[in-house]
């Protein structure tokens, strides 16, 4: 008897943590997203022809570009933060600050890129 162990994504996201959970989830989405993208891309280029072209067509789409750029940029910036803190545990005391810095770097960069992508996509 009793309720089984169960932590849904939404329950987890409701937890008031210091943003570590959010970065963990986004890092994961970014990593998996990139993995799938690269696999798709390699496969498409390998098969070539109409089928390959169709797949490559998906990521010419601006929405997909924004998504994949998000994956790449976030995963890269967050990954650098993780790597640095992991290799110098003393810095772990400043992890919340590191996450703030990370967002401060990420948001303008990503915003700018989205702007560029949209401008190109909308034919500007």
């Amino acid at each position: 008897m009793g309720l089984k162990r169960d932590v849904s994504l939404s329950t987890g996201l409701r937890y008031r943590g210091p943003a570590g959970y959010l970065t963990f989830i986004l890092h994961r989405i970014g990593g998996v997203g990139m993995g799938i993208f690269i696999a798709m891309h390699i496969l498409a280029s390998f098969v070539g022809g109409r089928f390959g072209g169709a797949i490559n067509g998906i990521y010419e789409n601006w929405a997909f570009q924004i998504f994949i750029f998000f994956c790449v940029l976030f995963h890269a910036i967050n990954g650098l933060r993780i790597t640095i803190l992991d290799l110098f545990p003393k810095l772990l005391d400043y992890l919340p600050e590191a996450i703030w810095i990370e967002w401060a770097v990420f948001i303008p960069l990503f915003g700018l890129s989205v702007f560029v992508i949209l401008k190109t996509a909308l034919g500007g």
Binding site: R16, G20, I25, H27, I82, P89
Partner: protein, 235 residues
Amino acid sequence: MEITVKIFRYNPEKDQRGNYVTYKVEADENDRVLDVLEYIKGKVDGALAFRRSCAHGVCGSDAVRINGRNMLACKTLVRDVGSSITVEPILGLPIKKDLIVDMEPFFDNYKKMLPYFINESPLPENGRERLQSPEERARFDETTKCILCACCTTSCPSYWASGEYYGPAAIVSAHRFIFDSRDEAADQRLQILAETDGIARCHTAYNCTVACPREIKVTKAIGEVKMAMMTGKLD
């Protein structure tokens, strides 16, 4: 002042699933949340079940989620959380009744760490204490404070994702022995932590450090164990 307390209720003998019940009670801003729970249990609904013992944050019985964050009910004052309080069981362990969760999986993980002093070398000949300098002693002071309350482990997203992960509390216990200059089994503990459900599952989410009521720098302790694994240095 009057405060509103929303509590997760679940009676295994009646309910299929839990629900939230809201109570309005009088409380002083210097009351502990535990005092509020005691009052509700005493005067409103005796069936309300939660664990507690020491009432001042040293036994680790009453880890609960208050307003969405793991805390000890006895170490949280009403003035710190405001007049509208939500109390829920900690996440990631099966719920037995109301705020009581099954602690067995948590203690099982703890026990995997060989959480006891191991030194098979002969004792000093004069029968006195093994010597240890104040600096060597200070090296692991932080992690000796752990009261096994589970606030950290049940706040860890990696533990939410997989209950197989040994969890921060277990690693904190391992840290306490790995860096004790008198202990001789650091290698065994590091081997265990190098397993699939071991230390690599920590993604430095930091929830554990924020949740720890003993203010142990849990993430840092885990980081130090990771570095010990990488470099072999135990000082």
